[in-house]
């Protein structure tokens, strides 16, 4: 017996119920609910939910490590099986219950969602204060939190998928929140459709598991419950137990499909193009959904399904490669963007790439820990950026900022802290998480150490582009009168920023691990029951080396940025002059949007147009018309016999009579 079922059930019910309550209340009452109420209700439910998470965390920690995972069934969702009855054979149909799992991984995610989410809700109270859609905004935000919690708590693949696409909808609604901006609407649609592709992949993966998963005895299980899946996925005594042998076709396909879902959610190549556009949404949305929580769900998925990926090395390798590749690509792009939010968005893509990479190589706790710290500092960066945008009156172009450091006494240091953490400067949280992650990359996974080398490169780029932002935006002279008249943000918007700054600075201690006296960090040991633990010390010094090189690279990137944008020692347009194609490639985001538009969207629309213009009228309707015209023609021909002339009537009559006479008289029948 683990933490009491009742407690888990009640806790889960509260976790899911509170935000849902907020959503229903706000959306059903709508305008009837005054902004004053919503201001408290919206963030309130989330913060209370966070309190619940804390309680559950404590309860879980109070347990021995062995039984920190509890699964409870909330209600029976579908039950198609029919028992055998009086000779009428029964059937094994599809069954699914709404069950939730409370375990360390779920709790970490829930903590991030409700904690960081709560802070961002508070922030939004200030940020959205003037907006007409204040209530609508909080309704969607609460819906998002609910969906996200469904996603991470679900103990059933179907409900994981349900949460998965509810999240997609919430993000769509929030991206297209300012629905009168065509650009926002388009971005929302783009995001949603990419998400749906991911959902489809997950659904197919679910089908494959449902059809193929066998128990130890080799009997088909027909289940989609996650605990059962993970319990049986490994090779058993029976020769085709689980999902077949390690690296088998089925399990590999399942892994790939799962990763497609993850990639869609986490904006990994090739489904990454929606994330930058998603910045059309309000900044808190970017902070909550597109930095802290939703986009990291892909990492969560891969980690959750690590038993499957451990069965499918090929799929895992694909995951790792795609992750690191995306990280590099996003880093390169981030160096040349001028929209402050887009820079941060690409850095998000890049960092998540690193996490995916880690999950791919099997460094699960490292991935999740980077997910945690990233949630802190990236939310921080977005909120700070939000303050900046708020300050300069909605301006997002770096080239029209500058000199803000002096006017925003709190936001500036907070942003810097976030940047340091992101860049992985020692003793900031990012340093701990990222260096551990990369250290694993040196010893684990496919094609070592080359993927690690790429990761190191990413380090340079990361610290370069983020400090590029720092220097362009906060230093130098104001580039516009708006920047000149900038003012610090109101208190309600500052408080969350500062809290997050604190967390971003110190969160690293959770992961302090030193080779000898503390081999495994607290965080890793906390997650251990779920994801196990990886050997981080293959050879003495290997990770020491990794640490040194990685740190050096981060600092190098910082220095480079300083040389370029502060000392002006290196001209900023060096690349664009020397290798313009490289600059264009980066500035145009490797032309993915154009490629997809030309390769997918246009052909489909053209096909549809072809159907509408040709197939429907010419072929389908045409066939009908053809029959009609044929009959009409026949009608005209027949009518031409009816000449009205007596003798012709008589002739035909006589002819047919003669025929009849011959047919019968000569007995031809």
């Amino acid at each position: 017996m683990t933490i009491g079922h009742t407690m888990a059930a009640v806790g889960a019910a509260l976790l899911l119920g509170l935000p849902l309550l907020g959503f229903l209340a706000i959306s059903l009452l709508g305008r009837r609910l005054s902004q004053r109420v919503v201001r408290w209700l919206g963030p309130g439910v989330v913060l209370v939910a966070f309190a619940v998470v804390v309680v559950l965390l404590v309860a879980t920690l109070s347990r021995p490590a062995a039984d920190r995972s509890t699964t409870v069934v909330l209600w029976q969702w579908l039950q198609l099986g029919v028992p055998r009855w009086h000779g009428i054979p029964g059937t094994q149909g599809f069954n699914a219950d709404f069950a939730v799992t409370i375990d360390p991984l779920a709790l970490v995610m829930a903590a991030i969602i409700t904690g960081v989410g709560g802070l961002i809700h508070v922030y939004s109270v200030g940020y959205m204060a003037q907006d007409r859609g204040f209530n609508r905004f909080f309704a969607y935000m609460n819906l998002f939190v609910t969906s996200m919690l469904v996603l991470v708590l679900s103990a059933n693949l179907v409900f994981l998928i349900i949460g998965w696409s509810m999240v997609a909808f919430a993000s769509y609604a929030l991206i297209a929140f300012w629905y009168e901006r065509p650009s926002a609407v388009a971005a929302g649609r783009k995001a949603y459709i990419s998400q749906v592709i991911g959902d489809l992949a997950l659904v197919l993966a679910a089908f494959l598991i449902f059809i193929n998963l066998r128990g130890p005895s080799g009997r088909l299980l027909h289940t989609v419950s996650l605990p059962q899946i993970f319990a049986n996925v490994g090779p058993g005594p029976h020769f085709h137990a689980g999902l077949g042998p390690v690296g088998g076709g089925v399990v590999t396909v399942i892994g790939i499909l799962l990763f497609i879902g993850a990639a869609a959610k986490s904006a990994q190549w090739p489904l990454h193009t929606w994330l930058p556009d998603a910045m059309e949404g309000p900044t808190p949305v970017s902070a909550l959904i597109h930095a802290a929580t939703m986009v990291t769900a892909g990492v969560y998925l891969v980690v959750r399904f690590h038993p499957v990926f451990q069965q499918a090395p090929v799929a895992a390798a694909v995951v790792a490669a795609v992750g690191i590749g995306t990280a590099l690509m996003a880093g390169v792009i981030g160096c040349t963007q001028y929209d402050i939010k887009r820079v941060i968005a690409y850095s998000t893509m890049s960092q998540i790439g690193l996490m995916i990479f880690a999950a791919g190589i099997g460094a699960y706790s490292a991935a999740i820990f980077h997910l945690l710290t990233h949630a802190f500092f990236k939310a921080l960066l977005f909120l700070a950026a939000g303050n900046v945008i708020h300050a300069v009156g909605g301006e997002q172009d770096l080239r029209r900022m500058g000199g803000l450091g002096r006017r925003m006494r709190f936001t500036y240091p907070a942003f810097v802290v976030g940047s340091l953490a992101l860049a992985g400067i020692p003793l900031f949280s990012g340093w701990f998480s990222k260096e551990e992650l990369l250290g694993n990359g040196l010893v684990l996974g496919p094609a070592t150490p080359w993927l690690w080398v790429i990761g190191i490169l990413v380090n340079v780029l990361t610290s370069f582009y983020i400090f590029r932002v720092v220097w362009i935006a906060f230093h130098g002279a104001p580039a516009s009168e708006a920047a000149g008249a900038a003012h610090e943000a109101p208190r309600v918007m500052l408080a969350p920023v500062l809290v997050l700054a604190g967390l971003a600075a110190v969160a690293g201690i959770l992961n302090v691990a030193f080779a000898d006296w503390h081999p495994i960090s607290w965080f890793a040991s906390f997650l251990r029951p779920v994801v196990g633990v990886v050997r981080t010390h293959p050879a003495a010094g290997a990770d020491g080396l990794a640490l040194l090189v990685g740190t050096a690279m981060s600092l190098g990137g910082l220095g480079l940025a300083a040389l370029v944008y502060q000392r002006r020692a290196i001209p900023a347009d060096l690349i664009s002059r020397r290798w313009p194609w490289l600059y264009q490639l980066s500035f145009r985001k490797f032309y993915w949007d154009e490629i997809y538009d030309a390769a997918l969207a246009r052909p489909v629309l053209a096909l549809a147009q072809g159907l509408q213009r040709v197939v429907e009228p010419r072929i389908f309707d045409g066939a009908v018309r053809g029959v009609r015209d044929a009959v009409a023609g026949l009608c005209q021909d027949f009518r031409s016999f009816q000449t009205g002339y007596f003798r012709e009537y008589a002739t035909v009559f006589f002819a047919f009579a003669a025929i009849g006479l011959l047919v019968l008289g000569l007995h031809l029948t």
Binding site: V631, C635, R639, F653, L664, G665
Partner: protein
């Protein structure tokens, strides 16, 4: 009985021996026909002696005559010991014939009821009309009960000759005259074939009574073997009867005559004639020549298919309502012929049911045209009924019902008619017939529903033409055509409603009429 024995019997009892000829019981069997004939004479005489002022009485007298005949027929049906043939096997008042008589008399009654108003509007009031009507009815009833080739011929001519005249009822109408001439000449032409065929059959079997012919084919010298002359005779008889039931390719007179004749006459002609002729057709082919069915089934089936295809397809292109219904009548004849081709007994029963349904729905459809026809001309073109649903909702609804029934929709008589015919066809392995029937029924939807479409489409103003299912209506023409129409009197509408009710009853409770058909027996001579 056949050959020498039969001759011996005949020699022993010479035909001119009066007692052998017409004992009273024969007259009883023959009573309905006698009544109608007597009524005809009475009407004739009355017409001679009463002045024009009392012309009113004639329809009344006619109606009473028909009613009396109907009651007697019913009486014969009820108190009937399965009828033995009378007049030395020349005629039989069996239930088969009586069933046809019912239909004929009912249609005739309806027509008589419609007559006065119509004739008065068209200025065609005349005593002869009723005389000829009754004469034709007599002929039909004789035909439906005829069990001898001689009497069959007699009946056919007796019903045709008055109809020739009736077509030309309107002496000022060139079209009517033309129709009459065509009908007359083609009719005579066809009768010649018929008689010659009868001569051949008679020559081969040595008998004119259907019963004896049947016996000869069954047990006599001809049993089992197929005799070319006999089959030639059957073929010629078939040609003659196909002409009367207006089945393609012997239908040529039908559209012209139906269109040319006054719509009232067309109503009578299109239903009653067909019923009588089909009675003879069924009796002669399905029963008398039943043993030779393997020989004539295929040709008859071909004729049926030809009629269904030709009628339905050509009806698509008609802009004249009468003509459209004429072609639809050809198609309907084709459907009934399915039953003939299938043969005894289920084919016969199905045909009878369809004839009943046809009597209800076709009389209704033509009756509505009659009722609408005004002073100037018959209600014959679509312009007239454009938007009828708004002007005369009742008539439009009834017309829709009749047309849907002709198209064979459920809830209506036509549905079960077709159902029984197709089931008979399928059961006897004549599936192609059923398939053709289905295909052509689908085609027929177009022109039946087009009429409904027209009735339910609002006529545009004077300026803009209206488009309905491929037909264009000019505002002016519409207005003119609609002025010609009349709003029928209450009685007329009630009568038509009765026919609609009959259509519905036949479509909802087929067992009612079917139970009658169950009681049927056919006397073959």
């Amino acid at each position: 009985m056949t050959g020498p024995l039969g001759m011996a019997a005949l020699v022993a009892a010479p035909p001119w021996y009066p007692l052998h000829f017409a004992p009273a019981s024969n007259l009883v069997e023959f009573l309905p026909e006698l009544v109608v004939a007597a009524g005809m004479v009475a009407v004739l005489v009355t017409d001679l002696f009463v002045g024009p002022t009392h012309r009113r009485r004639l329809p009344l007298l006619t109606g009473l005559t028909l009613l009396a005949a109907l009651l007697i027929a019913v009486g014969e049906w009820v108190g009937h010991v399965p009828g033995r043939p009378v007049f030395d096997g020349a005629f039989a008042a069996d239930r088969f014939g009586l069933f046809a008589d019912f239909l004929i008399l009912l249609v005739a009654l309806a027509v008589t009821a419609l007559s006065p108003a119509y004739l008065q509007r068209r200025g065609l009031e005349s005593g002869e009309y009723y005389v000829l009507l009754l004469a034709a009815v007599t002929g039909m009833m004789v035909l439906s009960g005829a069990t001898s080739l001689i009497v069959v011929f007699l009946g056919i001519e007796l019903l045709s000759i008055p109809l020739y005249v009736l077509c030309a009822l309107n002496r000022d109408d060139a079209l009517g005259q033309e129709a009459a001439i065509k009908y007359l000449l083609l009719g005579g032409f066809a009768s010649a074939f018929l008689v010659y065929g009868m001569a051949l059959v008679y020559g081969e079997t040595g008998a004119t009574q259907l019963g004896r012919i049947h016996q000869v084919l069954l047990h006599g010298s001809l049993a089992g073997r197929t005799d070319p002359m006999l089959l030639a005779g059957i073929a010629l008889i078939g040609v003659g009867l196909s002409f009367k039931v207006s089945a393609a390719p012997f239908h040529w007179w039908t559209p012209d005559v139906y269109q040319g004749a006054p719509v009232l006459v067309t109503t009578f002609m299109s239903v009653a004639t067909k019923v009588a002729a089909f009675a003879a057709f069924l009796r002669i082919f399905s029963v008398t020549f039943g043993t030779a069915q393997s020989d004539w089934a295929v040709p008859v089936a071909l004729v049926a298919i030809a009629s269904m295809v030709f009628g339905n397809v050509v009806a698509l292109g008609q802009r004249s309502l009468k003509r459209m219904l004429a072609y639809s009548g050809i198609a309907q004849a084709g459907y009934v012929l399915i039953g003939v081709a299938v043969g005894q007994p289920d084919g016969t029963a199905a045909s009878l049911y369809y004839l009943a349904a046809y009597a209800a729905m076709n009389t209704g459809a033509f009756g509505i045209l009659t009722a609408l026809s005004g002073r100037g001309e018959d209600c014959d073109d679509y312009e007239g009924i454009l938007g009828l649903a708004r002007r005369q909702p009742l008539l439009a609804a009834l017309m829709a019902l009749f047309l849907l029934s002709l198209a064979g929709f459920p809830l209506t008589a036509g549905f079960f008619g077709k159902l029984f015919l197709f089931s008979a066809a399928i059961h006897d392995g004549e599936v192609p017939l059923a398939v053709w029937g289905v295909l052509t029924s689908a085609v027929s939807l177009f022109y039946y529903l087009r009429v409904i479409l027209t009735m339910f489409t609002e006529p545009g103003g004077a300026g803009e033409p209206v488009q309905v299912a491929g037909m264009t209506f000019e505002g002016g023409a519409v207005a003119r055509a609609q002025l010609a129409l009349v709003r029928p009197a209450l009685g007329t509408r009630a009568l038509l409603t009765l026919f609609a009710a009959a259509t519905l009853v036949l479509g909802l409770f087929p067992a009612l009429v079917d139970s009658l058909i169950q009681g049927i027996h056919v006397v073959a001579g």
